[in-house]
Symmetry: C2
DNA sequence: TGTGAAAGTGAAAATCACTCTCAGCCCTTC
DNA sequence: GAAGGGCTGAGAGTGATTTTCACTTTCACA
């Protein structure tokens, strides 16, 4: 997909991208996770480089940042089709949910309020199947 | 609504509740804002009390916590009808948006995935009317 | 009213995620 | 191969939040 036209990146950024990609959609890595993995492959890489890389990759749309309330750190995942997230308030686990607000709804809201919507984030909270008992 | 049956709260928590209530729906206060206001009314109140109070009030459903990506601190607002939020990526302003995911959709998703949805958070991001030019 | 247990409290320190700065390095371009 | 710009790592700094602890208040019940 986007990889075919993506601009050349510094090799550390490539590394970060690979790590996030390798985690697969649905896995959610914190910057520290990513730093840990990156550090194994390229000891000496700095924390700031990881943050900078993630920021850049987000701008390019190659990875998505995910901010879940109640979780200290932001998490990152490979960017893919729009979807929502579900967080279990009991075990803290995060699941992907195949749901996106219909484009028509977005359009209507944007018109009503006079703003331009670039992204939407939907997070559900409750108890996952395993914690429901 | 919930106020009629709400359990008796320690007076500091009442104070915090009043402050958030007084801000009105659509205003978004950070813990520091709340602390500042609380401190005026009851000098000597501690920061930890404010955090503890907010946590409790959230649990009771009397106030809602709002975590907006890119904003350092969490913000709080009186709990009211379900609604979404819009954050302008240019000016950082936050607006309320009268939108909630239809209950039927929630039900379907919950059934599909086997979890119980207690709350949903919807945040849009883009440019507000004033920053659109 | 007296009493013990439980809950609440404030201050300060600790933690945690994240940002900033800066001097040096590397890679491209010419 | 020299110049310049982007990239880099380390470490200090920042700001939000949590934890801890000793003390106080509240409450149910005798």
């Amino acid at each position: 997909m986007a990889s075919s036209v993506r601009p050349k990146l510094p090799k550390n950024y490539e590394l970060i991208y690979e790590i996030v990609q390798a985690s697969g959609i649905g896995r959610h890595l914190t910057p520290s996770d990513i730093f840990a993995k990156a550090h194994k492959r390229r000891p000496g890489i700095g924390f700031s480089t990881v943050y900078r890389g993630l920021e850049r990759l987000c701008e390019l749309g190659l990875v998505s940042e995910l901010n879940v309330p109640g979780v200290g750190a932001a998490t990152y995942e490979p960017s893919g089709p729009r979807h929502a997230h579900f967080r279990c308030s009991a075990c803290g686990g995060i699941e992907d949910v195949a749901y996106a607000i219909p484009p028509r709804t977005l359009k209507t809201l944007a018109l009503q309020h006079g703003f331009k919507i670039a992204t939407e984030r939907v997070t559900f909270e409750g108890r996952c199947a395993a914690c429901s008992f």
